[in-house]
């Protein structure tokens, strides 16, 4: 528990007279350790702690009755402000259909989240066409079709075709069917796979999505920053869905991803069922990261 550890540090220091900047530094090292233990990437933890230090010195933390608690509050508030600051609502186009693209690493939960999103939008009065643009993974198309039939929404597929053409024709099909929204499920891929990242850029070019959502597993480790920045540099991520938050991982990847994309977390996946999608609560995630 970060507050206990900082409390212990300042209790030990308080016997030695007036506190100084080096004492703040020691406390901040402890903050950094807590973030690293929560899987926040080293670079994101360093820049976060630097901004906390600025605030701590500015707030004259050393004059406070309990500097440890003051620092924890600054850390918590800063986390909530960062994670929850940006606009978390989905952006739609004025001229339908609006296109939402889901992208991310292999196995992060894109296909499942595509169906969850479609169900959520349906409950809000928007009907979506799900587009099966993963032509590589065995039975990926079938997986999306099963999910689509569970929520009674259509799935556009062309078997093992060209994902760019499938996306483009999917949008035409949505227009023809009078559907307001297209949700494109893409194949998982590594951000270092040039050919596949290029494919995503070409899909983007073909369908002009209003949302490119980075679907990330909440238990992703140190590489969350590298992966997110790879996708962001190539595509421009507009939002994040953090999945498998029903697990017990601390979820520091959220801060890593935010630090290189500035993109808001729009939804959180909290289970395997199609109903298991929640809006994002920055205060809950901040407490979870701080343990």
């Amino acid at each position: 528990q970060l507050s206990d550890r900082l409390g212990a540090i300042f209790a030990r220091l308080s016997g030695r007279g007036k506190l100084g900047e080096s004492d703040v530094n020691e406390a901040l090292r402890e903050v950094r350790v807590a973030l690293l233990e929560a899987d926040v990437s080293l670079s994101a933890a360093k820049s976060f702690v630097a901004s906390v230090k600025e605030k701590a010195l500015g707030a004259n933390v050393l004059e406070s009755l309990s500097p440890g608690q003051t620092i924890v509050k600054i850390v918590y508030d800063e986390l909530v402000a960062l994670l929850g600051g940006a606009q978390a609502r989905l952006q739609f186009s004025d001229t339908p259909p609006s296109v939402i693209m889901l992208v991310g690493l292999q196995g992060s939960g894109k296909t499942t989240q595509a169906a969850k999103l479609a169900l959520r939008l349906k409950e809000q009065g928007r009907r979506s066409l799900l587009v099966a643009a993963d032509v590589y993974r065995p039975a990926a198309i079938h997986q999306l079709q099963v999910l689509g039939s569970q929520i009674e929404l259509p799935v556009f597929e062309r078997g093992a075709g060209d994902p760019v053409a499938i996306a483009r024709d999917g949008v035409s099909e949505a227009r023809r069917l009078g559907l307001s929204t297209v949700i494109i499920d893409t194949a998982g891929r590594l951000q270092i796979d040039e050919a596949l990242m290029d494919e995503l850029a070409r899909i983007k070019g073909a369908v002009s999505p209003t949302e490119i959502l980075f679907v990330a597993d909440a238990m992703t480790g140190q590489e969350a920053t590298g992966v997110a920045s790879g996708f962001h540099e190539r595509l421009g991520i507009t939002g994040v869905i953090l999945t498998k938050m029903d697990g017990d991982t601390r979820g520091g990847a959220a801060l890593s991803i935010y630090s290189v994309t500035g993109a808001p977390i729009k939804f959180v996946g909290v289970g395997e069922k199609i109903t298991a999608l929640e809006p994002f609560h920055p205060d809950r995630l901040a407490s979870r990261i701080l343990g």
């Binding site: 690293l36 292999q106 196995g107 065995p138 039975a139 999910l147 238990m219 140190q222 395997e272």
Partner: protein
Amino acid sequence: GREKRPITAEFWEELEDLLIVADFGVPTTQKIVSGLKTVAKQEAWSTTDQAVARFRKDVERFLTLPGAELNLTSSPAVVLVVGVNGAGKTTTIGKMAQSLRERGKRVLLVAADTFRAAASEQLAIWAQRTGSEIVRGAEGADPASVVFDGVRAGVSRGADVIFIDTAGRLHNKANLMAELKKMYRIIEREMGAPPAETLLVVDGTSGQNAISQAKLFNETAALTGIVITKLDSTAKGGVLVALVDELEVPIKFVGLGESADALRPFVPAEFIDALFE
């Protein structure tokens, strides 16, 4: 990795950072670096190459455990494959089936993930690709009943290896872990022995949560080995050191891609080399 500078406080910080960004985790990193610092004093090291050499030697020895190959001496050998959602279980089974088929073994795949959309279809494609047989259950059937049918079928058909593909499950879900325990007990009862192998498949891009995964899965179904997938990504998979520390079972394989041939035996020296790349 190859340079030869004087050992300074900066060097130790750099080594710490290297291990942290490789997902070694804070406790493991601190243990390793403080251990090296102690030996550095005792043996009066002067240059960084001495520390790196000792690091390599210690970690390689630590990660080298007996039983790094699949234990397929029983006939049929049942291999139970478990892990959290999306780790790469189904794909890894496909890869292992491929390699056994190339050695002329008779392989049966059991589709005990009866929950997730198109799970058994996905496994069926791997069966077809590798020339393996497959046992599937009815949609939504009790996974334990599919395990039972699968093991019976494998025994009666004279399969050499039976792979049980289970649904992804998060280790903090008591009901899902109870379901896994039931499957494990059915195998024990049918075979008169625990599975020949119980493999935990861990996503190589995951952080420290893999440790609690390992603990809880091991309590439910005694693990005999670990497979780390997706190491073709930029992740280094450093949490595997803590996994070996925790479980004392070997890392058997690493997944290096999505195709049937993208599975290699785990070689500690290769893992260490990759850290310094």
